[in-house]
Symmetry: C2
Subunit: 231 residues, 2 copies
DNA sequence: TCAAAAGTGTTCTCCCTACACCCATGG
DNA sequence: CCATGGGTGTAGGGAGAACACTTTTGA
């Protein structure tokens, strides 16, 4: 049953995997996609999608491969945020994990190719995870919170058209704060990253709400100068 | 001459190294410590200290080991900032590098244990580097610039006692901007992270300058609340 | 005596903050 | 008709930005 060990080196080499913390937003809080492990170790526990890196792909390509397998999505926003190298973090052998987070539009996600059970969990309602994935999640959140001060990555999580309330809820979820409705809208409009559309929706059966879209042109202009988003 | 390849796996494993971008500040701009390579590939080119990770140490421990070898320092501020995984970045075999930057007090640095030639280079005067280390340096600078908005890490680069001008020059070097002398001092004092000492120095043969030290107690207080440094 | 470095204070402006009213709608 | 959600404006305070004079010293 055991295959011959064909790949040999003068010095010990660790195994290297890529993991992908997939964030989504559904208008009701930030969520993460988890996979239920079907094999030992940690069988039955939830974990982030991940797997061994191929010898001819970058870590980012590996993470994108995982993302596609689980969500059907290509071309999502993805960012490497930390590499985990504690010698005993995997009981089988030494495994170094290059961790990424991806921001996806949850509405566009299809079921994964894998037979494995997958599920979206509200960020405040995540069960205990396999391996050191609890720490990985905390780190991912921390990096996401920091990154949002330098890039308006929130838009990666929203559909093309969204209300100001959606945007505010998203920022509040990520940063774990509350904003004044009026001040938030004012500040956001001041950055000139939003285009107000002529359309409206009625999200909650009361008044119509204006729809906005992300103004990519202005974003590219700002990015060149390097800007900071104050929250 | 070739040793037998003793370490065998079912699947190919990449080699993993840790590199350490060591930053220092000498009152005249930000500097990095580089090592001249004594062997191929890139023999004679400058590169960051680095080496293969031991199987029983974390990446951070490996980077600290490199740091100690080159500077004699232990316990410096160190932070992992990116992992490089392009399949062909090392011509010998596939090497994945976990990159860190360290902030050291350049005054405390002793020569390294290594026979290798080492030298400090002003950040604006770095020669072309080996491997993809040019990119690694750019990334390190970018991360350092971002990090300084969330933690007052500049103090890791300064001696225990320093003048306001030193501090300003340091921030200007890192962020590549110019500040108004008076506004900078006002803002800095406002954070209450500095203690003004009773001592003075005469740094440039003109008037005496007041000395300051980093107020660690206040820093710990602020850190608990989570603070942001606006620049 | 003069140039260079360091210490210090004021004004103005703008942005953030706090806060309240009106409108449209469905139940 | 009223509760709910959404849209909008204003007044006050505080922090950042612009800015100038004085002191000390060595050359």
């Amino acid at each position: 049953m055991m295959e011959e060990n064909k790949y040999c080196y003068n010095y010990p080499h660790p195994a290297v995997t890529t993991d992908c913390v997939i964030f989504g937003f559904d208008g009701n809080g930030l969520k993460v996609l988890l996979i239920e492990r079907g094999i030992e170790p940690y069988k039955g526990k939830w974990a982030f999608p991940g797997g061994f890196i191929n010898m001819n792909e970058t870590a980012e390509a590996g993470a994108l491969r995982e993302l596609k397998e689980e969500t059907g999505l290509e071309n999502a926003y993805i960012e490497q945020f930390n590499t985990y190298s504690e010698p005993d973090r995997d009981p089988r052998e030494r495994v170094i994990t290059i961790a990424h987070y991806a921001l996806v539009r949850i509405q566009e996600v299809k079921g994964g190719d894998d037979a494995a059970k997958a599920g979206w969990f509200h960020i405040d309602d995540v069960p205990q995870l396999a391996f050191d994935h609890d720490k990985i999640l905390r780190d991912a959140m921390k990096k996401l919170r920091e990154r949002i001060h330098f890039e308006p990555i929130g838009f990666e999580l929203l559909p093309e058209k969204f209300t100001m309330k959606d945007l505010q809820l998203l920022y509040e979820s990520i940063l774990d704060v509350k904003f004044d409705r009026r001040n938030f809208a004012k500040k956001m409009m001041h950055y000139e990253l939003l285009s107000q559309l002529d359309e409206t929706v009625r999200p909650t059966a009361k008044r119509d709400a204006l729809l906005y879209s992300f103004n990519k042109e202005n974003y590219e202009l700002f990015k060149k100068k390097g800007f900071q988003l104050e929250f």
